[in-house]
Amino acid sequence: MYTYSEFDRDFLATRNAQFRAQVERRIAGNLTEEEFRPLRLMNGLYLQLHAYMLRVAIPYGTLRSAQMRQLALIADKWDKGYGHFTTRQNIQYNWPRLRDVPDILDALAEVGMHAIQTSGNCVRNVTADHFAGAAADEIADPRPVAELLRQWSTDHPEFQFLPRKFKIAITGSPNDRAVTRAHDIGLRMVLQDGQRGFEVIVGGGLGRTPVIGKVLAEFIPEADLLPYIEAILSTYNSFGRRDNKYKARIKIMVNELGLEEVRARVQRRFETLRAEWQGADQAILADLRRDFAPPAFRVAPTEAYEIAYKNDPVFRSFADTNLAQHWQEGYTIVTISLKAHGATPGDATSDQMRLMADLAERYGHDELRISHEQNVILPHVHKSDLPALHAALQQAGLATANVGLISDIIACPGMDYCALATARSIPVAQEIATAFEAREQDIGGLKIKISGCINACGHHHVGHIGILGLDRAGVENYQITLGGDATETAALGERAGPGFAYDQIVPAIERVIDAYLDLREDPQEEFIQTFQRLGAQPFKDALYLTGDRADAA
């Protein structure tokens, strides 16, 4: 993993000292809120419904155990003993006091972390496949490139005042776990004649105008990637709209100019920029590859795993849902669900954070990941350690065997915290998870994603079942979308019809699920496959008690 250099540490110390002085000037009345607001946002500090909220970047979702322990310490010392992991692989603290934030930032800097560019019209935290460096299906670990992008974009003088925020996601695998098609730029590593490069996707995004990203370049060699991305940003900075906040994202520019014209403009800019890059990025990238070298894997027997799998049904259930295939024989990827039934999706207490840090240190080569699906991953666990790991997770309420199932719900904070929200998300997620707990193994793989407003932090457009909370005439109302897909076959869900009241949304989801269970060809056919086979109509009929389902009314 990357370790901060002297340059990084000095930069952070300077920024933190600046912000400390800005907070003092705000408190002393020497800065108005209008003056202070952009300064605090540049440092990740929002003012939400009940309190300030500090959003801390977890670059490409990767943490060391010491960093996770520091996040726990911050939760205890300056917040309410927990943190909320987000769909952008960040962590948010919901209750900091203004005076404490400079101390929190200093505490983060001690472990090489910060909250810079987690807000504002700049390049945000670069997100990545949470299985990066571990997944069996991966071409190569994309995180050296992600770290290069982080270094390049952090405090980049040209890109601090873009028309709007800018999100980049990267994956090294053909199976897209990073939702690359719903980002301003999505990068998918590909091989061409043995050479490594990236498919560059542009103009994806969710929010009020959901768009699946389009392929701007099928193959950009790795050595050209940074100048090419700079050319995209530069083109967007010049031609992206600034007259209307809601039309300022790059997806609107792509739609208005057309993909061909954007490609031509980017290419012209690239040709100028390419010549200016003297290869410094490639030298840095070579160093970064060493930083992200795989850990020293051990060769050991895996009987302990096999015996536990055979004899312990609870362990077997955990292994069947929460493990993913590692490229190294004998190893596995463990997803720790932060979706215990009835719990808040993505929340971890400080005790849970410390335990996960300890387990990462003991069993996981000191690495943790945060997924956009709001879970924590131990990417490198030897199978022989799984029984002990599972037992330790059980003690802390962290062994829920539901990864990829109906209760593994993405949910934004919604109106329980967020100043932008139009309805609550969290209690809807809690109630759905609880309602389906007994039969979720039978229901099988299913992605429910919930957003509390049209900004779509909960990715509802790409949920197999998406739920969008709105304010309809002063009452919470929930729209359902069906058939969305967040993977390499990304698709936007289709709006089913009129929304449902708060107390009707869980029964509505139950009708959709019951219809699926009736309609599937066999238990192996997952919800999305049944949907793709039959289309939306039978599910709409179930929701609105129309068609064949009218008799049920």
């Binding site: 809120e33 009940h50 309410k80 203004l98 808040t344 969290i426």
Partner: protein, 101 residues
Amino acid sequence: MSTRFTTSVVTANDLFEGDVVYLTPQGGWSRIHAEAELFTDQAAAEAALDAANAQPDRLVGAYLAPARSGPDGPEPAHFREEFRARGPSNYLHGKQAERMC
């Protein structure tokens, strides 16, 4: 576009804590919605909002929030304001917890 005035309280977030505060009839700021002054007159409400905006050293983002009269004082008239007055629904945090102390 003019919108019809609804009875309102003046609310904001506290600069230091970030939590929700309400303007009281005495001209102070309370953490409790029921202690707020309920404005039934648009001109008086807007004058009070102007006065609140003139206190940037302790408040952020003052606005008029719809409210109605209740047995114990003004009550929020929109669900967003109910959450602001109470706290989140997933934990006993915020004002609902403070009230139990």
